[in-house]
Symmetry: C2
């Protein structure tokens, strides 16, 4: 199944089913919001599957392509973000001289979850000097995961996959990392691509609890990165088990992969500017790619291998926010 | 005004007004939950003030003392916790050899907010070996604070004061601090005392955006700490302005002070075990106070100087949680 949330004047919006070609959508019957669906997935999913089949069988239905989309989950009770691509982590460690993370322990942080920006709105940030960057990621949305769940147990709670841009303020990050308290300002609210999909929509590309598909990242219309989603050092199942080792994960928890990155980043590019700048520093002695300026546009999209639409695109402009 | 939330089978519970002596309570008219109240404070407060005056004028009304209390805010869209008592921060820095925090920059972390435990329920944690500790704190609940607000502007958004126990897992903390990603497992869900109060309930003890009252912390019935709330290096107004410098703070954001601590901790005790253990390490060469065991009880209460009830008491037992 594929889901989107459309603006209806409420903070959580109105949940819709989206056809498999991402062209049409209809309001979900029997449930208003994605949070409600996640809280009662087993009870609600069967009739939604029927509604989804009927939508795909018909060639009629309201247009989705110009619908007023929010993030599929416009706000969540918890957002946890990992850093599961070793090619990214190892590079950052080397360049910034961070301590190596203990083997067997995934990196993860507790992020802001009171809003996920929709895929097309402007992104308000206060200062260009903060080093505005993007991070293309994949994520999962789970129903309730009990404390102490194993990776196999946690995997059964993965209900939806999403595509995320984790906006980052790089000039603030080292200051906050040094405190040991972790990131607040370095991690503003994230954006979500318009369509959340059940894992079966990926077919064989949902493999070992990883998204085995490329993420296309473009900056101001130019190709920036085409990294593959598969090479995570921990699958989403393992990341969830780690997250749940001291707590029950509330239904609707969103958990991210961290910046998608591959070992051959010099050929296929990166999903964030910090990684490209680190490569430039190593190869050319100094970073040459500037962080974002107000007015810059970032586009991210992951499609199926056959070109079929999947999560839809994030396509946004960074703008000056806050007081003048 | 004083507010409590009672169990009614829903996750957000049912908001009540509590009489000034904390003995009686009535359901709030015109609003069901604290989150709803915070989102429309200016519109709802005047009639609630009338209802509160009538409750205090009467000597009748349902008993509050045995009511099924939840946290006044059973879950929040954001929980940010500071570390605003220098006597605590300086001691921890000295003992654990942390880098000093830059002057003029408050310490703060993004915490788990999908649940705040009520004041009397058992606290499930997975392992005693994680170094189970408590942290007695004060906190504020704000309505929407725009990005870039000054301290004076932010102060006007402080609607309620609360008393918090920020449960902590000390064995995990240094591992997570070293990553730079900050705390997840080191900071499980917090507890809240039963009554959230408007600042005017403190009279002159709400001073410079600080709670000028002592916090009584007891462990298994024995006095553990009696630290004063006033000596914060940053007031809640300044902490809020810091938090809002890169983001709008969503209505219902809870912001904490960090462990209440005073320079004379050797005389008046501490609001967490880590601080007492650090003092023992300095004075006696080794920490002697063990962290909590399952079955241990922690009680925290802040009263007015005249002995009058204020937030009510947190009184809880730590128990084994998760899979057997």
């Amino acid at each position: 199944m594929r889901f989107a949330t459309l603006h209806d004047g409420t903070p959580d919006g109105r949940l819709h089913l989206v056809s498999r070609d991402n062209l049409r959508c209809i309001p979900t019957e029997g449930v208003q919001t994605l949070q409600q669906l996640i809280e009662s997935w087993d009870a609600l999913a069967p009739s939604l599957e029927e509604q989804y089949a009927a939508l795909n069988a018909s060639e009629e239905g309201p247009d989705f392509t110009a619908a007023p989309v929010m993030a599929p989950m416009p706000r969540a009770w918890q957002w946890l973000d990992g850093s599961a691509y070793d090619s990214h982590g190892d590079l950052m460690q080397k360049v910034f001289n961070h301590d190596p993370n203990p083997k067997g322990r995934p990196l993860m942080y507790q992020g802001l979850s009171d809003r996920f920006y929709g895929p097309l709105c402007d992104i308000p940030l206060p200062r260009e000097e903060d080093g505005i960057d993007f991070e293309g990621e994949f994520g999962v949305i789970v129903d309730a995961v009990p404390m102490g769940s194993t990776a196999a147990e946690a995997r059964a709670h993965i209900r939806l996959l999403v595509q995320i841009n984790d906006w980052s303020l790089r000039a603030v990050a080292p200051v906050e990392m040094k405190t040991g308290f972790g990131w607040i300002h370095a991690k503003p609210a994230c954006s979500m691509a318009p369509v959340a999909v059940t894992p079966d929509e990926l077919g064989a590309a949902w493999r070992d609890a990883r998204v085995d598909l490329p993420l296309a990242v473009d900056l101001n219309g130019a190709e920036f990165g085409r990294a593959e989603g598969y090479p995570m050092s921990y699958g989403f199942d393992e990341l969830l088990a780690h997250a749940a080792c001291t707590r029950d994960l509330v239904a609707g928890t969103v958990l991210g992969s961290g910046t998608v990155s591959n070992e051959n980043f010099r050929e296929i590019g990166s999903s964030c500017m910090a990684e490209r700048r680190a490569i430039e520093l190593l190869d050319e002695g100094a970073p040459r790619t500037p962080f974002l300026s107000f007015g810059d546009r970032v586009r991210m999209e992951c499609r199926l291998r056959d070109g079929g639409a999947l999560f839809g695109a994030i396509d946004q402009k960074v703008v000056k926010g806050g007081r003048a």
